[in-house]
């Protein structure tokens, strides 16, 4: 396997877990601390740290230092690769409008 394949494998394995997907979705809105990421989940802080480590090893997130805080960030390149998923809200809205376009075409034809 090439290095790229291994990286891709790790990214998909990392995203194969609902807690980690939720963390990625949260980070798409902006950086967050471990405590902030842990908040929605009824799991131990150790479990949260392990999830964050998996995401970090997969190259999807990085951690920086900001005084006492060590916030997690989405890696911009990873963010780009995930764009089609993260934009799902936008895509679903656009799909709905395309269905309306098609229906309006039918309505116009019926009226003529």
């Amino acid at each position: 396997m090439s290095v790229d394949d291994e990286q891709l494998d790790r990214a998909f394995t990392a995203l194969g877990d609902p807690v980690r997907r939720a963390m990625i979705a949260r980070l798409s809105r902006g950086p967050a601390t471990v405590n902030e990421l842990a908040e929605p989940f009824p799991i131990t802080k150790q479990a949260v740290s392990r999830h964050i480590q998996v995401l970090e090893t997969a190259g999807l997130i990085t951690r920086t230092r900001d005084g006492q805080r060590r916030p997690c960030h989405l890696v911009p390149a990873a963010l780009e690769a995930l764009t089609s998923w993260i934009d799902e809200y936008r895509l679903e809205t656009e799909r709905r409008f395309r269905r309306m376009d098609a229906l309006l075409q039918t309505v116009r034809e019926q009226e003529q």
Binding site: E88, Y89, R96, A102, L104, E111
Partner: protein, 155 residues
């Protein structure tokens, strides 16, 4: 026809603007006739049943989306209805009772068609963000499923 979606950080608002190649009357018709609404409202691959869709001031609506994992029911009340111009309604997913959104839809004629403007006000910033994140998570799952299908086909 480009879609503008604004979700200003720290607010409970979602604003969507889109132009359609139609008259305000035509767009109003497909937005309010229950038989036509079923043809566009709701994600792909979901069966949709409209139980009630009574678009008049004080009228109410309820519809159900079904897929393999279950049923999702939505309901609300029409507050203001102005033919071909304006609809103000509430919106609630029955899976999260009490988290009621207020939705305002305005139709405005343009030189080439009609401009649809939708403003949703969620009960809190958190409720809005969760709703958007749910869509994203759904999208990630969807993409993983599509990838799995491709791999199963030996692509």
């Amino acid at each position: 026809m480009s879609t503008t979606i604004n979700t200003p950080a720290g607010t409970p608002f979602v604003e969507v603007t889109r132009e359609f190649d139609a008259t305000p009357a035509q767009l109003f018709k497909i937005s309010t006739d229950p038989d036509l609404v079923t043809q566009w409202l709701g994600p792909r691959n979901l069966e949709m049943t409209v139980e009630k869709y009574d678009v008049r001031p004080g009228g109410s609506y309820r519809y159900i989306h079904r897929d393999d994992s279950g049923e999702y029911a939505f309901r609300g009340v029409f507050h203001t209805v102005e033919q071909d111009k304006l609809v103000i309604q509430t919106f609630e997913w029955e899976g999260a009772p009490g988290e009621v959104c207020l939705e305002k839809m305005t139709l405005e004629p343009t030189e080439t068609g009609v401009r649809l403007h939708q403003q949703s006000v969620f009960p809190s910033v958190e409720a809005r963000d969760q709703s958007i994140e749910y869509g994203m998570e759904h999208g990630i799952r969807d993409s993983m499923d599509r990838l799995a299908e491709l791999l199963a086909k030996g692509a």
